[in-house]
Every structure is written in structure tokens, then in C-alpha cells.
Amino acid sequence: TPTCDPETPLCCRRDHYVDFQELGWQDWILQPEGYQLNYCSGQCPPHLAGSPGIAASFHSAVFSLLKANHPWTLSTSCCVPTARRPLSLLYLDRDGNVVKTDVPDMVVEACGCS
């Protein structure tokens, strides 16, 4: 998935690093110091439907369906996360206990057109 840059109108991954100090949360989140808050944005024209991030065979299946039916159906394809990973956090709970846990699906790694 391309990382977004100002000139990219197509589906891409927009990267933002969030430092917990910037949130004022460094007193209770002990590790890590921050995390990648990425999100997907950009256009998904019909010829990109089912593209990056999903198996090529799916892409060709969608493409032949589009050709077989009215090629430019009204249904739109959206730019969505197609791969995400958990974020491991070490933090203090309200009783001052140290808690280590994995928060699932917190970091978007890849985007694609639905």
C-alpha cells in the first residue's frame, strides 16, 4: 500500500505517530512511548476495486464481474484497512497495579479497496 503523500488521490495509508507524552498520558502508560495511529484514505475507482491488500485472484474476479455487468455500477468501493496488528501496552491501573496486555487490531499496516 502506498503511504499517502499530498499528490496521491488514490487509496493509501496515512501515517501518524502519537507520542503518549503529547497526550499527557506518560504517567500511566509505561511502555511503549507512543504508537503508529495510521488510517486509510483516498479514492477507489472501479478498476481498483479489490486491489492491493487482497489476493490478486479476488481482484481479477471483481474486474471480470465489472466487465460482465454494467461496467460502471453505482456501488462504490471504499479504501479500508486490509492488515492490522495488535499493540502491546504496559500501564498502571487505577489501583497502581502494573498491567501488561495486547490490544488487538490497533495498528493499521495495509489499506486496500473493498
Binding site: T8, E22, L90, N97, V98, M106
Partner: protein, 216 residues
């Protein structure tokens, strides 16, 4: 208005960089609280001493296989009256294990002082609710320690369900096995400062429908 008039995804006017950054930070807060099942960030009134924290982090790394589904918790003991004999200490823990989780692994970490003469015999009682005599909940575990330093003592997780209030009290009762050292029992366990005892717990989300099988 940003440099381009419209957002490539939704066509709305693009945000100015500062506004986008503020929105991203707000989103980050929401996602983290949601992921930790918290409604607001915890207010830490008594953070554990940095040295105790460092030691606990080292213990969390010790033998820590890849993080499992669920949580690992380190809970530091508060000691009713540190001046009394460490061997008769009452250790109080505040545990907020959510109902949707169950405890499947528990160890009590104690630091034995170098003044240990021979073998130390230790019994750990669960203190009954509302201050009833120790032992009313029965003996949790007994251990013999022959070397000074840190000891991780396994406890039966079934016996550690905390009270409704989230408070768990453990009463220690220890004595040297060799009877002519009884007088020194007071100086054998280290319960103050950064060597204060702590519980190492592993909790896991309850499997859906787990309780039903038992009821049947």
C-alpha cells in the same frame, strides 16, 4: 481549508494540518481507552516506587513467553503495619479483575533477607472478609525456603478470588525450621521499600458459555 479543496475519500473540505493533528490525538485516546475497556484514563494516586516498578518489569520479562490472550498483572502489597514482625505480616492487594476475566496463574514474590539461618517454613493464609480470624478461608499454601533473595511462590488461583470490594488480604506466618533460631524470625522477610512483596497474576477472558457447562 487545506491546500486541496476536497478530501479524496469523502469530498469534504480537507482539514488544516493542526486541526487534523488534534483530531488524530483525540482518536488515539478513544481507541486506546476502548482497547483497554476503560471509560476514562486511570487517575494514579499512589504510583509504585520506581525501583519496585523496575524490578517488576524485570520479573514480567522473566520467562515471559509471547504475550498471551488476556493480561499479566503485578500487584504490590500494602502492609498494615510494617513495624510488626515481617513474618506475621498482613499483605493487602487491590485487584480490579473485571468479571469477564478469570485468574489462571498466581505467584507471590517475597524477598528473603541474607540473615536466613537454615530453612524458613512459611504458611500463607487467606484472611477472611471483614477481618475475621486468619485461616477462616483456610490455608492457601505452604513453602520452605533455604536461600536468601527473591522467591516466586505459586498460589492456587482458585483461592484468590478477590472480594466484591476488589481487596485481597494474605496473612503470612513463618518460622525457622530449626527451633533454636525462633527469636530471629522477625528479620527474615523484607517487606518494605522496593523489595516489598507483590503478586504476579495472569488473567484471561472467560470462554463464552464456560459457566453454562458447570451449571448443567
Amino acid at each position: 481549508q487545506g491546500t486541496r479543496s476536497a478530501c479524496p475519500s469523502c469530498g469534504d473540505p480537507t482539514l488544516a494540518p493542526q486541526a487534523e493533528r488534534a483530531l488524530v490525538l483525540e482518536l488515539a485516546k478513544q481507541k486506546i481507552l476502548e482497547g483497554l475497556h476503560l471509560t476514562s484514563r486511570p487517575r494514579i494516586t499512589q504510583p509504585p516506587p520506581q525501583a519496585a516498578l523496575t524490578r517488576a518489569l524485570r520479573n514480567l520479562q522473566l520467562g515471559s513467553e509471547a504475550p498471551v490472550k488476556g493480561e499479566e498483572v503485578i500487584s504490590f502489597a500494602t502492609i498494615a503495619d510494617a513495624s510488626t514482625s515481617a513474618c506475621g505480616s498482613m499483605l493487602t492487594f487491590h485487584l480490579s479483575t473485571p468479571r469477564s476475566h478469570h485468574l489462571h496463574h498466581a505467584r507471590l514474590w517475597l524477598h528473603v533477607l541474607p540473615s536466613l539461618p537454615g530453612t524458613l517454613y512459611l504458611r500463607i493464609f487467606r484472611w477472611g472478609p471483614r477481618g475475621r480470624r486468619p485461616g477462616s478461608q483456610g490455608l492457601l499454601a505452604e513453602h520452605q525456603m533455604t536461600a536468601p533473595g527473591w522467591h516466586a511462590l505459586p498460589l492456587p488461583s482458585s483461592g484468590l478470588r478477590s472480594e466484591e470490594s476488589g481487596v485481597l488480604r494474605l496473612q503470612l506466618d513463618c518460622s525457622p525450621l530449626d527451633s533454636n533460631h525462633t527469636a530471629q524470625a522477625q528479620q527474615l522477610l523484607d517487606t518494605a521499600g522496593d523489595r516489598r512483596p507483590f503478586l504476579e497474576l495472569k488473567v484471561r477472558p472467560k470462554e463464552p458459555g464456560a459457566g453454562r457447562a458447570r451449571r448443567r
